[in-house]
């Protein structure tokens, strides 16, 4: 996780709004028992106008499957440099993914939205499985996903 900040600073705009101020944020994603193989998840942020800002995490190591994370793929053009160094294993049905990142303070209460795209082999792609506005008030409140994600929350 230590290299994350540097990576994000290099590859995305996530730290630009307030370079100095950042805090650790824990993102917890728990999956349903949907009865399929491990899910690929892309966690990324869009701004108030819906434009892609940067990626936070990619669960799933085979880039040939990224096109099934269709909103993320369309926003980034499938650019794996967006998730360089912030890629982990896919998440099995019923399992949880917990990641802790240093996120810029300026991302909160400023109209940014965190999205999760999900995809499972031989099952339906589920872009925008979760879309949750980043607010300090919303921290710790679980949000349920549409198909594969039982709930998601961010804590700081």
């Amino acid at each position: 996780m230590k290299s994350l900040l540097a990576t994000l600073a290099l590859t995305t705009a996530l730290t630009l709004p307030g370079l100095a101020m950042a805090r650790p944020v824990t993102l917890t994603t728990t999956l349903n028992n949907y009865g399929g193989d491990g899910a690929y998840l892309a966690l990324y942020v869009t701004d108030a106008s819906g434009a892609y800002v940067g990626s936070l995490w990619m669960a799933g190591g085979k880039s040939k499957y990224y096109e099934h994370l269709s909103d993320w793929y369309r926003a980034t053009g499938g650019d794996t440099a967006q998730v360089n160094g912030i890629t982990g294993a896919s998440v099995g049905a019923g399992r949880s993914l917990e990641i802790t990142l240093d996120l810029a303070d300026a991302l909160f209460d400023a109209g940014y939205t965190l999205h999760i795209d999900a995809a499972v082999e031989d099952m339906r792609d589920s872009p925008n499985e979760v879309a949750v506005p980043l607010t300090t008030a919303g921290a710790g409140t679980p949000v349920s996903g549409r198909r594969y994600i039982a709930n998601f929350s961010y804590d700081m």
């Binding site: 009865g35 399929g36 193989d37 819906g50 190591g61 085979k62 880039s63 040939k64 096109e67 269709s70 793929y73 369309r74 053009g77 499938g78 031989d122 099952m123 339906r124 792609d125 925008n128 549409r146 198909r147």
Partner: protein
């Protein structure tokens, strides 16, 4: 060399290729079942009509997918809950559950990774590579055995296990080469070693901003037959900037939800097409009959594994350790062996032991190692030469004839050639005969005329040993018992084995003396001296 390439990958990867082939054969059934059970699409049905029908039944439809078998699945949201079903295209209504088949999922994961993630994938890819090596080396062995590609399906002779092995192999090899090469391609693709990633069209900069144009009226969907459909994704409800995404056999495009216009389109790349074809050839998804045929051929692998091991075990004891082998430069007698399965080495060992006992210094080596310049002390060269298949050189005699033919003149050391073969093959001892002919053409002095041993007959060998003893003026008794009879039907000549430990009055009973040898023996007389010491 080729035999080694066939034997060791075969023995080492036996478990792996057996697992791969059995699970592959089981998997091959699924596409065929799906093909039979999937509701069929009427000819000429367009994506527009299909989407319209499904939308009537499931107003919250999000995505329509068509699998290569023709099965249509729809996914929808109904009051916040996701739903999915296999669709009858004639009505648009769901007819079966769209949940993934757990048995299929288990088998697929087992087949490609043994449930061991990337490490398992690499192990299984190694298994596929072993299968490919085995198939190619095996095909070359079959060609060599049959005497050319034209004789690929020629009738087989020889021991039963070996025959069964080749019988299965020459039919199954096509499927195994196809399955293993496509498997390697798919692994390479999974590990991102191939540039076959998908290319999506550039996201449209501008959409109409309207919503509600029925997909049934969109010109692109009205032109696209369902047979070409892969996937149609609907825009998010309430998001006017989203679009319809259409994926077909030809590529991917975006359609405007306000006016149905085609906003962008990207064709499949050449690499993608190749990879998709390879995926189809490997999985049988979209080619169910081919899949079943490949599955059936894969079932030959366990049978070939079993017969292959039996052939190996039968041939293994035929190559014993030679005790007290002399260096080529020091030996008086050079004994060179041309053997395929290994049985001729057993005869060489017997001869080596008998000659050594008679006070000779003997070097035993493969015929492929023929190097007359090294035989500085040699007074005779003896070749024990088997034949492979249709007259080809056996494995340990590779290159012998070429080297002999390349020399200006043959070595000045008298030569004896003994052929080993099976009279049920038309090319009986054909390689030994070619060697004898070539030696004669080069003016190689003859120690003994060419003789042959039929089906490892100990009597033939003992008789030839007598003739060799005559030529060397020594007492030579060759008592060789083949470790394992390599023929499936009883050979009457093998029944009364020579079991004469003590020297009998009749050392070499002429059970079957060729007229030529009888003449040769008569001409030389029966004078024999026993060297003292």
């Amino acid at each position: 060399m080729i035999r080694t390439l066939h034997r060791w990958p075969g023995l080492l990867a036996l478990a792996l290729v057996t697992i791969l082939s059995l699970s592959g054969a089981a998997l091959s059934v699924f596409p065929a079942v799906e093909r039979i059970t999937a509701p069929q699409v009427e000819t000429g049905l367009t994506v527009a009509t299909l989407a319209e029908r499904i939308q009537v039944v499931y107003p919250g439809v999000e995505q329509i997918r068509r699998s290569p078998s023709g099965r249509i699945t729809a996914y929808w949201f109904d009051q916040g809950a996701p739903g999915a079903a296999v669709i009858d295209p004639a009505t648009g209504a769901g007819v079966a559950s769209a949940d993934p088949n757990q048995a299929l999922r288990w088998l697929t994961n087992f087949h490609r990774s043994l449930f061991l993630g990337d490490g398992g994938r690499i192990a299984m890819a190694a298994g596929a590579a072993a299968m490919l090596v085995l198939s190619l080396s095996g095909a070359m062995l079959v060609v060599r055995r049959a005497g050319g590609w034209r004789h690929w399906f020629a009738s087989l002779r020889g021991p039963f296990t070996g025959r069964l092995h080749v019988e299965i192999a020459r039919i199954a090899v096509i499927g195994l080469v196809l399955s293993s090469t496509t498997a390697l391609w798919m692994t390479a693709s999974t590990f991102d070693l191939l540039p076959d990633g998908g290319v999506l069209p550039v996201a449209p900069a501008e959409v109409s901003g309207e919503t509600g144009f029925a997909p049934g009226r969109m010109p692109t969907l009205r032109r696209t037959p369902v047979a070409e459909l892969r996937e149609l994704s609907f825009p998010y409800p309430g998001d006017a900037t989203d679009v319809f995404t259409l994926k077909t056999d030809r590529g991917t495009g975006y359609l405007d939800q306000g006016d149905g216009a085609l906003l962008a389109w990207a064709d499949l790349t050449g690499w993608e097409r190749v990879s998709e074809t390879i995926y189809m050839l490997h999985t049988g998804q979209g080619a169910a009959t081919l899949g079943l045929v490949l599955g059936l051929m894969a079932l030959g692998v366990p049978a070939m594994g079993a017969t292959g091991v039996l052939v190996w075990l039968a041939g293994r004891p035929g190559r014993p350790r030679i005790r007290g082998n002399q260096p080529a430069g020091r030996a008086e007698t050079i004994l060179l062996v041309g053997s395929e399965g290994g049985s001729t080495w057993g005869f060489a060992a017997t001869l080596h032991a008998a000659l050594t006992k008679a006070g000779q210094s003997v070097h035993v080596g493969p015929m492929s190692g023929f190097g007359p310049e090294r035989y500085t002390n040699a007074r005779r060269i003896i070749l024990l030469a088997a034949t492979y298949g249709d007259g080809a050189a056996p494995a340990s005699a590779k290159g012998f004839l070429d080297r002999l033919n390349a020399t200006d003149r043959a070595p000045d050391i008298p030569l004896a050639v003994l052929g080993f073969g099976d009279r049920s093959f038309p090319a009986y001892c054909a390689f030994a005969k070619s060697v004898a002919t070539a030696a004669e053409a080069k003016g190689w002095p003859e120690l003994l005329p060419l003789d042959t041993i039929d089906r490892q007959s100990p009597q033939d060998f003992a008789r030839w040993g007598g003739a060799l003893g005559d030529a060397l003026w020594i007492e030579l008794e060759l008592t060789h018992q083949p470790v394992q009879p390599q023929n499936d039907h009883a050979d009457p000549r093998l029944a009364p084995r020579l079991r004469r430990r003590g020297a009998g009055p009749d050392r070499h009973p002429p059970l079957r003396v060729s007229p030529r040898l009888a003449r040769a023996t008569a001409a030389r007389g029966r004078v024999r001296t026993v060297p003292d010491g």
